[in-house]
């Protein structure tokens, strides 16, 4: 029984926190709101690649860092805490999908440059009409001779501007398939994300792909979706904790009616509730990360639990943090609105809370610990 971050995880967390604080600042996100999208300077990305972050949990023999899934959520949480914009999370997810795909030629062709930071890949799930894309409908793959024809539209694709490869799940008669699509065969139109991070629309108008572009089937699509949802949950909780820390510090200092406002229960109790929600969220996040790491059958239910909880927690923690600051909280200069924007955007990326609750409702009765029959048996015994 050991259910906390290991010393190695904590060391990674601390060094990531320092690196992000040194090389990036919330001010840059604020400026990017006027001149979107937020973009990392080229050398920061190279440095993160050199630190082994892009392939953080990809296998070492393919150029990855060989970390466990927890190392990836540690990085995503720090990205959220430090308001670091993409493409770290989308690149880690794309790299992991390629690392786990059955297509060795694709791995050899794409992974070294991806992990070295020389080229970028992302994943396109969302479809117009509110489908988070776990089960693609509008994007269709048809076999054409040796290769594939891909048609459809994906939206809100993270960090797609400048990506060399887009992983696209598409519907096929045999079920969902995942393709690695060269950016050149797609039409990319930038969209503007609430928090100034880069997202875009991707249109595939009968793009022709060679047979070698196929990465995998439904399992890989599902794994990749879960991984992105998991990292997004981590990013959300990192932001929620940062906003909460800021508000707690302010509540200790700000004096009104001759008392620090944190001594008023109307201020203190919502902060306590936000803390409770963050701790529950972190517990769900670790549960999900461990289930994904061990490829356990309950992994999808735990990922959905973590994502649903983290999205709502981040929004409410940021709203609490903003209101605790009073008038100052509503200024452009204070960072809280940057966190709130990121929380609102992340909460609906890769499935909103209701999507994930529906998924939990569908999955839970089949889980071992929750089988109704098992309870009945227990009573009959």
């Amino acid at each position: 029984m050991d259910f906390e971050l290991s010393d190695e995880h904590i060391a990674l967390r601390d060094s990531a926190r320092d690196f992000i604080a040194e090389r990036w600042s919330p001010d840059r996100m604020r400026q990017a709101l006027d001149t979107p999208p937020a973009a990392l300077d080229g050398d920061i990305w190279q440095e993160m690649a050199a630190l082994g972050w892009i392939g953080i949990c990809a296998s070492e023999d393919r150029g990855g860092s060989g970390g466990d899934v927890v190392t990836a959520i540690v990085l995503a949480e720090e990205a959220g805490r430090g308001l670091l914009p993409g493409p770290l999370v989308s690149a880690i997810a794309a790299g992991r999908a390629l690392d786990r795909c059955g297509n060795s030629e694709l791995r050899v062709e794409l992974l070294p440059a991806l992990f070295a930071g020389d080229s970028r890949a992302t994943v396109a799930f969302d479809e117009p009409g509110g489908n988070p894309g776990l089960d693609p409908v509008q994007t269709v793959a048809k076999q054409a001779g040796d290769g594939w024809h891909l048609t459809g539209t994906k939206i809100c694709v993270p960090d797609v501007e400048g990506a060399g490869t887009v992983l696209v799940p598409a519907a096929a008669p045999e079920g969902p398939l995942l393709f690695a699509v060269p950016a050149g065969t797609l039409t990319v139109t930038p969209m503007r994300r609430l928090d100034a991070q880069s997202i875009g629309e991707v249109v595939m108008d009968g793009a022709v792909l060679p047979s070698g572009a196929l990465c995998g089937g439904g399992d890989l699509v599902r794994e990749t979706f879960d991984f992105l949802a998991l990292l997004t949950a981590a990013d959300l909780l990192g932001g929620a904790s940062a906003a909460l820390d800021t508000a707690v510090a302010y509540a200790k200092e700000r004096v009104q009616f001759d008392r620090p406002i944190g001594s008023f229960q109307a201020v203190a109790h919502p902060l306590a509730d936000a803390y409770v929600a963050c701790e529950i969220g972190r517990s769900l996040l670790y549960a999900a990360a461990l289930a994904v790491e061990e490829s356990r059958p309950e992994a999808p239910a735990y990922v959905s639990a973590a994502k649903a909880w983290a999205g709502e927690t981040a929004v409410s923690a940021c709203e609490t943090a903003l209101s605790v600051h009073g008038g100052i909280g509503f200024t452009w200069e204070l960072d809280i609105h940057l966190y709130l924007r990121r929380a609102r955007a992340g909460a609906v990326s890769f499935g909103d809370a209701d999507f994930h609750r529906d998924r939990v409702a569908a999955l839970v009765p089949g889980l071992d610990g929750y089988s109704v029959e098992r309870q009945e048996e227990g009573k009959a015994r």
Binding site: F3, A272, Y275, V276, D358
Partner: protein, 411 residues
């Protein structure tokens, strides 16, 4: 990270499970009597419950954390968790002497004299002597240190006068551990002592109170010139406050509470899957499905928070923060599960339990009121939030220091 238990611990679980299965009949009898309720067989029920605790004790499953020399097991933390998990899973009634086992016992182990330990601890384990807790008073609830029950020492005897309230088990308890004021002139936390009181002493009147759920669970206890030998003082004279605090600080991982909530949620899921609603069942309603899913998410959050707390305890760290978080969240979740249950019942949620139309024989109304009790007893939800705000987040006190520690309440 690793959520598994060691092979030795899993063997321990298997042995305990086998023991519980073998004693199923005995268990069913005790459970039936405890829940059956009529006053005619209440004495039988108490006798059965004492017997049940005794047989569990003799099998080695009571007093797991206690020292061997006083009848305990000195079991590992994980074995303690496994034991409470399995007891919870097997639908056994709570041990009748739980208050003695979880609050007084650890207090005596830490602060009692050798004589007190030898005299009291073994009989707590066997349920030969049942205990109740005399802390709260009409004027001392959340502000417990404002208590006014007086104890005056005359030679080797304390004379106690005052009133306690919300005392669970009082009508059947043999003993009570009391917080009393021994120095009214001292600041309020510094004039309190911790006494062990024989409930059969003259001058004690117990008046049961009916709670909002309709049950009789707690009582008022009136003390009039009750004589307590000075040898029953625990710790130093006037030193009772820190002793009481130290036991309240013995937080557990809360994992056994998760199991009882899990049992409730599984039952509720089954009810929702069978209860007619329109042309189908309640579970077909997408809003209810989402709400049930949300309860599951919350339950798993609480469970895994418990694993983090346990990890901290195994490593010898103070679980402090996650334990107080778990306590607050568990109480809230309990009431949310009951609230969801009443939604699942729909219009039948208005039907009282004795009606043949009552869903699941009215268990969700009981769960609902029970949850309200849980959010008050042992520190209200508001007090828990104060604790988290002040001790975890480091926010300034909501109540000025002079009122918390302040002067004695006087006469």
């Amino acid at each position: 990270m690793d959520l598994s238990f060691s092979p030795e611990d899993e063997e321990y679980r298997i042995r305990l499970r086998a023991w519980l299965e073998k004693h199923q009949a005995e268990l069913a009898g005790a459970a039936g009597l405890m829940q059956g309720g009529g006053s005619a067989n209440i004495l039988d029920a108490i006798g059965m419950a004492r017997e049940w605790q005794r047989s569990l004790y003799e099998a080695g499953y009571v007093g797991l954390s206690w020292p061997k020399e006083y009848g305990g097991q000195e079991a590992t933390l994980t074995q303690q968790v496994i034991c409470s998990e399995e007891l919870s899973r097997s639908n056994t009634p709570p041990l009748i002497n739980t208050i003695g086992l979880t609050i007084l016992g650890p207090t005596l182990v830490q602060h009692g004299t050798e004589d007190q330990k030898r005299r009291f601890l073994p009989k707590i384990l066997t349920a030969e002597e049942l205990w109740c807790q005399g802390f709260s008073e009409p004027g001392a609830g959340s502000d417990l240190a404002a208590l006014r029950t007086r104890a005056e020492q005359d030679g080797d005897t304390f004379f106690v006068n005052g009133q306690k309230v919300w005392t669970s088990m009082a009508p059947i308890a043999d003993w009570c551990f009391l917080l009393v004021r021994t120095d009214p002139s001292a600041p309020k936390r510094e004039g309190i002592s911790y006494l062990l009181c024989d409930m059969h002493t003259p001058g004690i009147t117990v008046r049961p109170l009916r709670n909002a759920a309709g049950g009789i669970h707690f009582s008022e206890v009136f003390l009039e010139d009750v004589r307590i030998p000075a040898t029953n003082l625990v710790g130093e004279l006037h030193g009772g406050w820190s002793i009481a605090r130290s036991t309240l600080g013995h937080e557990r991982s809360g994992l056994s509470g998760v199991l009882s909530l899990e049992t409730n949620l599984i039952r509720l899921w089954r009810t929702a899957g069978t209860l007619q609603r329109g042309d189908g069942v309640a579970l077909d309603d997408p809003t209810l499905r989402r709400e049930l899913a949300q309860r599951w998410i919350e339950l798993e959050g609480l469970r895994h928070l418990g694993f983090r707390t346990l990890t901290a305890q195994i490593a010898g760290r103070e679980p402090g923060a996650s334990a107080s978080v778990g306590k607050l969240f568990a109480a809230e979740l309990r009431s949310r599960i009951a609230g969801t249950a009443l939604k699942v019942e729909g219009s039948l949620a208005q039907v009282a339990k004795r009606s043949p139309h009552a869903v699941d024989r009215g268990r969700w109304h009981a769960a609902y009121f029970d949850a309200i009790g849980h959010s008050i007893g042992g520190g209200t939800a508001q007090i828990q939030r104060n604790t988290i705000a002040e001790r975890v987040l480091g926010l300034p006190r909501s109540v000025p220091d002079e009122l918390v520690k302040g002067g004695g309440p006087g006469e």
